[in-house]
Structures are given as structure tokens and as C-alpha cells.
Subunit: 205 residues, 2 copies
Amino acid sequence: MKELTKQQSKVLACVEVYLNKTGFPPTRAEICKELGFKSPNAAEMHLRALEKKGYISIQSGSSRGISIVKSQQAFEKNVNQMPVIGLVAAGSPTLAEENIEKRIPCDPSMFSDSFDYFLKVKGLSMIDAGIHEDDLVAIKKTIDVKNGDLVVVRLEDEVTLKYFKKNNHNLELIPANKDFSTIEVDLREQEAFIEGKSVGLIRTH
Amino acid sequence: MKELTKQQSKVLACVEVYLNKTGFPPTRAEICKELGFKSPNAAEMHLRALEKKGYISIQSGSSRGISIVKSQQAFEKNVNQMPVIGLVAAGSPTLAEENIEKRIPCDPSMFSDSFDYFLKVKGLSMIDAGIHEDDLVAIKKTIDVKNGDLVVVRLEDEVTLKYFKKNNHNLELIPANKDFSTIEVDLREQEAFIEGKSVGLIRTH
DNA sequence: TTATATACTGTAAAAATATACAGTATAAAT
DNA sequence: ATTTATACTGTATATTTTTACAGTATATAA
């Protein structure tokens, strides 16, 4: 998703706030009043840019015909666009905008447990669990995981999706593929960050 | 809260549906078009009544200045409830109410192609394709399938999910499990009904 | 029988709104 | 040095939209 300029970001925020407050989108003139512009064309141009970049859609010819496609703020109203994050080898899978590959229209309550983002699977280490490369695993951010859960763990700079098993200070991260071996971590020697656990999976055919 | 008349209720529902679909409220004329009224005043009067009874508020002088104060339906925002159908051995997987096991809040556009319902997988015949028992396969109702597509086919009274391969009148339904054998159908002798094809899959962990 | 409320049609005008066009200014890139 | 992108002002107009007014029809209540 293309980056927004400072002013475009302001205009998008203005639309979102207005929508939240009144229940309907603002007119060009109202955006101008809110942001101190003196010409409706200022708002118009920013809206066009936002549409081009995919953040809003504009119903041409309709008054107030603006709808939010992708909210920049995490408004609870637009949670039906769930972010997809690549399972990058380095660093934590943060929800920062640059890490979001795309968004998928669905509800965080679609699985039995709610989730926060999708993680795109790399590699074949979980193939015997029916988890293929490029599958999207729904991750709930939590550190409350039990043995047997499918978890996202970060070791140093590497993020991995494995079955979880812990006995005292001995952590095992177990793959579902006989060609891969279990990662064993002695928690007294190395830190392991539990990013979350999988509550579901989706795949596009 | 005062009761609504039948027509007022229709108008309120119309506003809610429009809002859900487009992200902004309808004009008087659009309500008329939607409900078959021939005068904008019909919509106007109903809106005034709805405001008086406290269901909506109207920003006077503003176009589309309607906001919902009290929703009559418990709309789940923009989220559709997609039906889940069991892969029953007998008969076509119809969307009749009695065949719907449950509904899942998600969007029909969440996969690259739209879909109509989820089919709950029975058996292990597609396990090497990473499709497990009780996985939900998203099915698009279509007869436009190509060789290699994952399709839902009905043979006599049996519904099956397999890979599709057709040469002239020779249809092969290929499983993804070496313990199962390909179903071969001579279309001159036996009918095969293509119910649809899979566009995606979801699984709850 | 006469109100009264609901449920509209049809028309029209005033106001709101989108949107095109012609400019200006500034900073960064080529 | 010139182009390009961002970020506006200012004006004008066609279109959209609200909203008032004048009616018609029907069912229900007083």
C-alpha cells in the first residue's frame, strides 16, 4: 500500500473522525473548514489522491459519497480488513504499516477464538499439519499458550511457527515434517519471545 | 421506545442496509428508488417520523445527513454470515436452511474469487493437498471448471470433493491420498453434476 | 359522521454539493 | 535550469439534494 503524504493523512483522519462523530462522511467544504483550507479544491485533490492510493473510494456525483476502504487509524469500525504479515526471518512480526502485505476482508471472530493478524507461512516445516507454504495462519497475540498449541515464537531475530512444548526451562519447538528437526531451547541460556498462537488458517486456491 | 409502523420499519432497514453497503446514508430519492416510492416526500415523511420516535437523527440542511441512533436490526457491521454445509453423502449440498450447520462471520470476497458457502470436509481423501477432516472449503457455485481445479461433484446421490480432470466423455475425480483411488466416470453412461469449485479453505485450530 | 393518522403522488424552488478550470507558490528531483 | 510533485487559492457552474407546499386515498377511532 502506497504511503500517504502528511496532508493526505490529515484529510483521511478528518474524514474518519467526521464519520465517527456524525455517521456520514464530510463534504469538501466541511473538510476545508476542519483543516483550515480556503478552497474546496484543496480537499478535492487530497481525496482524489487518497482514492488513487486505495484508502477511500469516491462515488462520483454523489454528495458525501466517500467510503473508507482502509482505515489508517485502528477504528473498531473497520476491523473487517485483517492485516497479512509475511513470516519474515528477521524481527518481530509487527503490525507496522510497512510489514503489512495486504488486508483481507473478514471478521476477527470468524474462528472460535479472535485473532489479530494473518501470518503468511514460509517453508514446509508444518506440512504434515496440513499447513502449506503461503497459507495464512490467523494469529492471536497472547503469551498464554499451552503445550500442543501452534505458536509463533521469536528466537533472536528469527520468527518461527511450530508446535509448542515446554517443561520447566526446556522449550521444544516441534515441526510437523520428518525432514525438519525440533528446535530445543534452554530458557536459562536463550530468550524466546512468544508472539502469539494460531487460532485458524485460511488458504486461497 | 415508540413502535414503528411497517413502512417506517422498512425505511429504517433501507437506510441501514444502504449505510452498510456504501458507507454513507441514502438520499430521499435513493430511498424511494429502493422501496418503490414515486415521491421524495414519501421518504421524507417516514424519516421525520423515525426522527420523532428517536430511531435516527437528521442533520437539517445537510445532504445524506441521516445517522442511526437506534438500530432495529442487530447488524453485524459489514460482515456477512457465510453458511457452512456438511459434505453429506446423499444429495446436493443445497443452501436450504436445514442443511446449514452454522454460519461464519466473514466476507465472500476474502479469497481471490468470491464464494457462496463453506463445505465441511469429511474423510481423508484430500489429505495430501493439506485438506483435513472438518476443514471448511469455500465453494463458488459454478460449472465453469478447468482440469486441475478442486471441485465439488455429485454422482448419483454422493457428493465428493476432488481434483477435476476431463477428456471428452471421460471424467476423472482424483483424490490427494495414495490410499484412495481415482473415480472414473464415463459421461455417456453416468451423469455427473458439478456443484462448484473451491476458491479457498479455512480451518479452526 | 367526522376527525385523525398513515401513506403516499407530484411539483418546484432554494440550498448544498461536486467538480471543472485557471492560477500561485514551494521544494525536491533531474 | 527545468521539470515534477505537492499543496494550495479563487471562481463558477451543473447537478444533487433538501424541503416546502398542494393534493389524493384509505383505514381507524371518536
